[in-house]
Amino acid sequence: MAERRPATQSHRRLLLSLLALAFIGAQVALGIRGIALDDNRYGWGMFGDDVHYRIHYAYVRGDGTRTPFRPDFRGKAKDYLGGPKRTRYGVGSLRTAIPMLLRHAYERRPSPDVVACEAMLVHQTNHVGPFEHELLSYPPRGAR
């Protein structure tokens, strides 16, 4: 005959089982996200590639002209998103980080005719092949 447990213990176990499911599910979801987006952070992917990159920032004005600018970087932000640099977190980590930074710059844009902030990301993987160019923007191009 099955042993009956007090209801409170059953409820506690159910809650803990759900907690375990959430804990494992979150880690698996972040791991899959990391692989799908080539962003090794937060999902246990480690050192998938060695990516060299540099970033050029520009304000986009209403008439379509672009003015290069340099965000007010400090400390680690300067190291990471300023000059030429490498990352082992995957190109996707830059695709995630840079738009957050562009939003910050856009919210502090110098004049109202700035309609977007853009970053040209130039990167190469493992010192092999050509440098690739990607344009990142805030607000995203389709949303302007």
Binding site: S17, A20, G48, D49, K76, T96, M100, N126, V128
Partner: protein, 318 residues
């Protein structure tokens, strides 16, 4: 009418298996040992400069700040927040420095097992707060610290080897002999997922050909003092393939009793290799400590003997 036992329905069998997997009673000595050692690594992470790749340059510094000056405090200017955590309040430089100073103190008390129920959550939450303030604060070892400390902080990891347990015994109490295996399972699964996703992220041409390590070498990242010696005997391609296979093996090998010892040996070799070749500080120590969670608990008789030894008052020096 047949006397044969009725087959147990599959959902019931699954539920029982799941309950057994998550809640089976077990001793907590290994978990408590992990608290002591992982808590010590947590403290070390906040005070250690340098690593065993260059033993001569190792130094301790308290508090060791992420931002050395107000001018360098990235959170005051442009920094990418962590998606989903933009709502976290960004403290002033002074408050941030104060938090950084408090974290290793909480960690030290946690490792000692003094007021564990309070300082454990404080250490885990304050560290996680700093970790989630900015994408600039991401490191793999920091994520591992945050996740493991969060589980340990809310687990019965002070039943043994702690000041709290000693105080309890002095008052005539004693912790339960067994507890649910739940926190240990969460940590074991984390270790497997860590190695599993690390393995999957390396299934590419860069790792199968050794190009990634070649790029590391070109960047000057393989700068351990023994690196030239190691690389004289082992090619980068071999090291590269060993790394990928080792991580894949560790993701399941630690669970299989017959493979456990070889898996631990491979893990130690892998992390020792990384530590000797690259500028890594505490990640390997974290992993060595977490291997303890896969070892069998001390046998009941040994545990009882150890408990009676702990409970016996020592003769005073006077």
């Amino acid at each position: 009418m047949s006397d044969a036992p009725q087959p147990v329905p599959l959902p019931t069998r699954l539920r029982v298996a799941l309950e057994d997997f998550l809640f089976a009673p077990t001793g907590t000595r290994n978990l408590c040992l992990v608290r002591v050692l992982f808590g010590s690594v947590f403290v070390l992470r906040h005070v250690l400069k340098g690593g065993i790749h260059n033993p001569g340059a190792i130094s301790l510094r308290f508090p060791r700040h992420l931002y050395e000056s107000k001018e360098a405090y990235a959170l005051a200017g442009n920094h990418p927040s962590v998606p989903g955590f933009e709502w976290l309040p960004v403290p002033s430089f002074e408050v941030f420095s104060w938090i950084e100073g408090a974290i290793p103190i909480f960690g030290a008390l946690f490792a000692m097992g003094l007021f564990t129920r309070i300082v454990g959550p404080l250490a885990a939450l304050s560290f996680s707060y700093v970790f989630l303030l900015s994408q600039l604060h991401y490191w793999h070892h920091a994520q591992c610290l945050a996740v493991v400390m969060m589980v340990l902080a809310f687990s019965p990891c002070a039943d043994h080897y702690s000041v709290d347990a000693w105080l309890l015994r002095r008052r005539g109490g004693r912790p339960p002999r067994t507890r649910a295996i739940f926190p240990k399972r969460l940590l074991q699964i984390t270790v497997s997922l860590l190695y599993g996703f690390s393995f999957l992220s390396k299934l590419n041409t860069g790792w199968s050909t050794g190009l990634v390590l070649l790029a590391f070498q070109a960047d000057g990242s393989l700068r351990g003092q023994v690196a030239p010696l190691v690389l004289a005997f082992v090619s980068l391609r071999t090291l590269s393939r060993f790394t990928v296979l080792a991580e894949g093996f560790l993701s399941f090998g630690l669970w299989v009793p017959k493979l456990r010892k070889p898996a631990i040996a491979v893990g130690v070799l892998l992390h020792l290799g990384i530590d000797l070749l690259m500028a890594v500080r505490t990640f390997s120590f974290q992993m060595y400590v977490l291997y303890l969670l896969f070892l069998d608990e001390p046998k009941e008789a040994d545990a009882a003997e150890a408990e009676s030894r702990e409970a016996t008052p020592r003769p005073s020096a006077a």
